[in-house]
Symmetry: C2
Subunit: 393 residues, 2 copies
Amino acid sequence: MLITDVDAFILAMPHITDAADGTQDTFLVRIRTNTGVTGWGESDASPLVSLAAYYCPMSHGNIINIRESLLGERLDTPEDVRRLYQKVRRQGLDIEQIDHAYSAADIAMWDALGKQLDEPVYHLLGSAIAYPKLPYASVLFADTPQETLERARGLRRLGFRAAKFGWGPMGKHGADFDVDLVAAAREGMGEEAEIMIDAGVAWGTDYETAYARALAFSPFRPTWLEEPLLPDAVDEYGKLKALNPPVPIAAGEGAARFRTAQDILCNGKVDFLQIDVGRIGGLTPARDVAVLTRNHGAIYVNHTFKSHLSLAASFHVFAGESMFRYLEFPAAASDLAKRLVAAPLVPGSDGLVRLPRATGLGMELDVSAAKEYLQPVRIELNGKVLVEIDHFD
Amino acid sequence: MLITDVDAFILAMPHITDAADGTQDTFLVRIRTNTGVTGWGESDASPLVSLAAYYCPMSHGNIINIRESLLGERLDTPEDVRRLYQKVRRQGLDIEQIDHAYSAADIAMWDALGKQLDEPVYHLLGSAIAYPKLPYASVLFADTPQETLERARGLRRLGFRAAKFGWGPMGKHGADFDVDLVAAAREGMGEEAEIMIDAGVAWGTDYETAYARALAFSPFRPTWLEEPLLPDAVDEYGKLKALNPPVPIAAGEGAARFRTAQDILCNGKVDFLQIDVGRIGGLTPARDVAVLTRNHGAIYVNHTFKSHLSLAASFHVFAGESMFRYLEFPAAASDLAKRLVAAPLVPGSDGLVRLPRATGLGMELDVSAAKEYLQPVRIELNGKVLVEIDHFD
């Protein structure tokens, strides 16, 4: 089939705050083909900056927009999707935003191809079986240990067997306070549950303090300690790991390129590599990172804080690896994110999440709900309208 | 002083082609303060995508646009520029384009601060003396060795004592042809000149072929072999260097972050690290990379293919290090790039280039020339005009 339409849409809640909630707006791309198939994808990125990468004028041979690289192209096999990933990145070599922006299109192409070939995306990515995953709820630490205890108890009552507690006050009130937070998370979730600790880069480049905290947290058996250091502090991650901390280390959510993921894995020596398919350029590079992680003996985990369109897309990448057990499962989201797909993923009675038996990503976009959040956009440059979108057709 | 205005401008030639000429358009940022000082900077990036990073709406606490982070801020000391670099990247953490886009603003702030304090920028960056540099002309290989010979002779007649010959047919017609190209460059430039070879990532990840070419080129004594491999093939650069090639290796022009530069330097083990201040986020991170490179025992070189505003900005970064001898000097440029500054840099009678004795960057923008290339831009989102620029005021 041939790609006939590549359309980008900006959706947003009526009121946006500076809260750490990435679901307040989103960037969607729709791919349509001459066979009548439609695929959808979502980036975790600035919608306007990403949209500009679809419509910007050519600057020279290395700044050519994404639509121009895709329109009219053949899309018949997984090899076509991989070829187009290379083409878009080659022609957009000098557009820094290319990976964030292209993520949605790459995901939409896998979705479209799966629907056309009557296959789930994980098959196209080379996996025969989709294993169920253990969802962990992602929440923030409360301001105090006591409130964190209540929050953890609430998640346990909801049936979560695993939960990640993030930053908030972590690292701001000294070692004892940090340990009390972790102790509260463990107590609230119970002895059987898995708890993850997300330090939110609390210790910057100070790997010795990060090591000291890992030691202090270890009696509470966290599954991992996430982002104790800055994403670019790769050498310091390596030094932290060289000290042999008794808690596994996780990082990688900001990786926008294969090399960045490889760098934090191979030089930072993290135990868990967390990849966001909406930032790294879609399923194509994410799948390569998953294979690299497996070969390296580490664990791949999704990073997801968007709608279940992104959650399902993330899942397909590592559905086939039973040793990659965990699925980040956003436990809170805006109405926009909640309503974007018709049937979100839900844990089964065993507490595990499964991919639906369906073709493509297996997620149906609720177009009428999406319409309510559409933001009309119009860009005019040098007297020419580059893009004007005011409705879904 | 306080930052009162942050304005972004898109300039372009009337006709843009897919030629490898990065001077066909440009992205300028002007910073103005309450003391009446004006600073200018230029990015080597997609103008429209970069502009979007100055005006995009907030998505959450990690997607806040550059103007919002800068307007009203204090700008009194070099420490302020460094603080604002951290602030902009923190608030724009999830905008991938942030480094490309911010480059122009960072450069403009150093320019404004230098003018206010009556100091050249290299003083503010910690260098007491600005050493002259050896400019090398940057040209492409011609299609054949014979035409390359003519091209090299032409540069020699123009007085260039060094020249870099880039890609074109390199790597496309086998080893003998590649060697003939290099031999022609050497013959045309003469025995005394320095020649650099830019392979334009001709051998992808194939470090063994890159090594074989370095061996074959070594009788012609190139100063370096540039980008024999893909920018992200850091492991393969390391493997190439482990083979001890008899020609120094250069790379790094695509680095948009400090870590990317550090990665190719420390893990790729390149001998020459080439940094574009219009991509890496401006002079602030570029200066840190220059210090890292010096401490590492490697050589820092600018990568520049924009106007002399960018060339001067690049120069200030490493003006103070006499062992960093080379200055990439664009030998061809569009009328836009040529006319953008009133008095371009020119080599002295000794063939070396010096920074002008002046404050700030030492370059005066020719505003009336710039006006001829201004592209009016208007972005409307959800019924609100985010930006409308149709003139220089």
